[in-house]
Symmetry: C2
Subunit: 188 residues, 2 copies
DNA sequence: TAGCTCATGTAACTAGTTACATGATTTG
DNA sequence: CAAATCATGTAACTAGTTACATGAGCTA
């Protein structure tokens, strides 16, 4: 969804080749975002075409040559712009891409200046409010439609359990957002 | 990912038009799965081409005509096959499609006979084990890499918070799967 | 010598989003 | 009279997956 921006953040931390990026997206980043090498190579090419990154071919003796990508000025501008822009993700409570989008922004906030840090904070606050409202809706629905869950059977039980999935996911998102806000507030 | 199967389940409960399905995927199903009407119309056409559903055009006086879709024998066979097949989803801990795939299977298990019910139960158990293992990995990583989270700042803090996102999401998935297993065990 | 790591790619496909288009009826 | 509901679609696009392809060097 915003894989180019996720790559921009990762390359801001350290320049690297497509192969190295693929390993990052399979390692420490994998808990919020997975991406295959095919997807990364393709994205890097369009990013280079757009001037967001510059490429340097590094010739190696024992290993194949590699292309090392570095964030350009235009890439830094784009990153700052994106950090300040509202979230664009979508999806159901269970598979919501806004949460991972926020995680990437959080990770990259340091590379967009002071304005970006506070903009991202604002987005966390806004997302928290949205999530809380959704969770309230779910809880209301739960109370009115399933007042006695222990007695449910068949498809009513299944519908209830599906709703519970949304509630668990929503709760987890809320807890996480709160943890983020606490962490960003305290150490100041 | 398995939208055709999610539609098969919904149509097994009650036959309906594309428009009605779109409303279901925007209402009670939306907490685990969202789908637009465009996607649903397209999918219904291919499902009809594949013989999974049959179509009846219902002429209406005050409203536009509608096409009502009903699950065919081939559709029922396909549903039973899919219910028994292993999960095919993927994704990171935060945006994992296996969870929603399981939710749909759970919902549809009743339409695939006794074999399907126990097959789905097995998949819940397997998924629970996978999730628990992943969560353990995350906790291990947390302990070794971030022993003192309160002291973190900058990008180390951000990396820690991203990991916490994976942990929250994993925990929620585990809790949900446990709730499902309890609900399916007790009322028997 | 079999399999893994490093390194980059093409091609075909599946899944999902956004924008555009039409038109009658019902509700506020 | 404006907006929502009912009802179906096309087209273009973005995102992501799966399969295939190549080839050197290093490790068990």
């Amino acid at each position: 969804m915003t894989l180019p921006h996720a790559i921009l953040v990762s390359l801001s931390e350290r320049s690297g080749s497509g192969y190295e990026l693929a390993r990052r997206f399979d390692g420490s980043i994998a808990d919020v975002w997975t991406a295959t090498h095919q997807q990364i190579y393709k994205t890097l090419r369009t990013m280079a075409d757009d001037g967001w990154v510059s490429v340097t071919t590094v010739v190696q003796q024992t290993r194949p040559d590699k292309k090392v990508y570095t964030v350009s000025d235009a890439g830094r501008d784009e990153l700052a712009r994106w950090l300040a822009a509202p979230l664009t993700g979508s999806g159901s409570a269970v598979t919501d891409t806004r949460i991972r989008e926020l995680a990437v922004k959080l990770h990259g906030a340091g590379y967009g200046g002071a304005a970006a840090v506070s903009a991202v904070r604002d987005q966390v606050v806004a997302q928290r409010a949205e999530r809380a409202a959704l969770l309230d809706t779910y809880h209301g629905f739960e109370k009115t439609h399933f007042p006695e869950p222990a007695r449910l059977t068949g498809s009513a039980l299944h519908r209830y359990l599906a709703l519970r999935g949304g509630i668990h996911a929503g709760r987890a998102a809320l807890d996480w957002l709160d943890e983020i806000l606490t962490a960003l507030r305290d150490p100041a």
